[in-house]
Amino acid sequence: MNSSQTVSRWDLFVETFFSQRLIDEYSGAIAEGVLITCEIALLVVVTGIALGLLLAMLRSYRFLPFNVLVLCLVDILRSLPPLVLILLAYFGLPAIGFSMSGFVVLWLVLSLILAAFAEEIFWAGILSIRRGQWEAARSTGLGHTQTIVYVIIPQAVRMTVAPLTNRTIAITKNTALGTVIGVGEILNQASTAQSFSGNATPLMMGAIAYIILFIPVVAVGRWIETRFAWRRI
């Protein structure tokens, strides 16, 4: 008696979170979500880091008005919750004539946020390079730009790898916020399927998709952290 009861409870659990029928029915939708999540994540990583590096390099020219502007922008982007910016861009900008799809809004907002954090990390890296390196490079006849590109950045980047990786992972996971503005990423597909089917299986599938996608990334981040540990000079 007792054992049959536990079996039926187990069946109920499986039926609620791992229903085979629903797994078959919705795996296509979840796969589509995975594709969209990957697309946005890759775009954000590329544009965000490139923009952050560019800003940090421009900051090294120490042109005061520009630096004040960058600093304010970076601080604002670091202080505001991403969801606030997403809602503002998605619902606010159309009122002044800029209508963008949810995909573009998510990409732009997350790129800007990553750029802000990356700029700070790269700038800290640039500052940590000793003056002698600048002076030596300049004395060989390199210009300021050449010094940054060939001497400073290659050394600075090494020190920024660990903090930058962690920050990038954290911001990439924010792609899930896209569900709020209707971007068809994993979470969006999963919650839509859940409300259609009245069953928690799609949510479980979504969660597992994220785990499969991000566990390797987190593990690589952990490895990089020990490999490129910030060495104080």
Binding site: T16, D75, L83, G92, A176, L203, M204, V218, R232
Partner: protein
């Protein structure tokens, strides 16, 4: 220009929405007051368990930390809020947010504490033990104070992230600051309330972000 001001800085709409937003801010503050201490305590506990000499315990804790670092907080929150009721566990939005944040934040704070504890030299533990302190005493009086100081910028940085993250509670209809602002937006068809909410977040977090930048540069040199 007028259109821009009308759409984003409409002071009449802002003043009408302000009582709602202030109530939302209260909820956000209460949420922070619960989830930050919970995360700090959970994280410290997990970090100490992750340093255990029992290999099994150590590896399962590290696996759990990575699991909760891999799942986006919003996914975890929605799973808890709308997935668990199917298993008969129904939580209020506030409780669901607290549980989700506890799981997520503990993992992040644990990693920070772990790095901090590992940054303290082995000699400190040995010296403390040799003066007759027990393991726990050495940890509490000698290792943890130094460890915390070493990772103070990271703890602060993560706490800023937690405060910002409370905004995702709006997705499960917890009436915190962003939810209130978004409600006002959808009623007025005007984004000024969200700009106002952004202003409030900025007012609270900008000084902390500045302080963090100073602290990071100080530790870095």
């Amino acid at each position: 220009m007028n259109l821009f001001l009308e759409s984003f800085f409409n002071f009449q709409i802002m003043s009408e929405a302000s009582p709602l937003l202030i109530r939302g801010l209260g909820t956000t503050a209460m949420l922070c007051a619960v989830v930050i201490p919970l995360g700090l305590i959970g994280g410290l506990t997990v970090a100490l368990m992750a340093l255990s000499s029992n290999t099994w315990l150590r590896w399962s804790i590290i696996a759990l930390i990575d699991l909760f670092r891999a799942v986006p907080p919003l996914v975890l929150l929605i799973f808890i809020y709308s997935g668990l009721p199917f298993a008969g566990i129904e939580l209020s939005p506030f409780t669901a947010v607290c549980v989700g944040f506890f799981l997520n934040n503990s993992a992040y704070y644990a990693e920070i504490y772990r790095a901090g504890i590992e940054s303290v030299g082995v000699g400190q533990m040995e010296a403390a033990r040799s003066t007759g302190l027990k393991n726990i005493q050495a940890m509490v009086y000698v290792i943890l104070p130094q460890a915390t100081r070493n990772v103070l910028p990271d703890l602060l940085s993560n706490t800023i992230e937690v405060v910002k993250l409370t905004s995702i509670a709006s997705v499960v209809a917890l009436q915190e600051l962003l939810y209130s602002a978004d409600m006002a937006r959808s009623v007025t068809y005007n984004s000024s309330p969200i700009v106002m909410a952004a202003g409030i977040y900025l007012l609270i977090l900008w000084p902390v972000v500045r302080m963090l930048s100073k602290l990071e540069h100080k530790v870095g040199h």
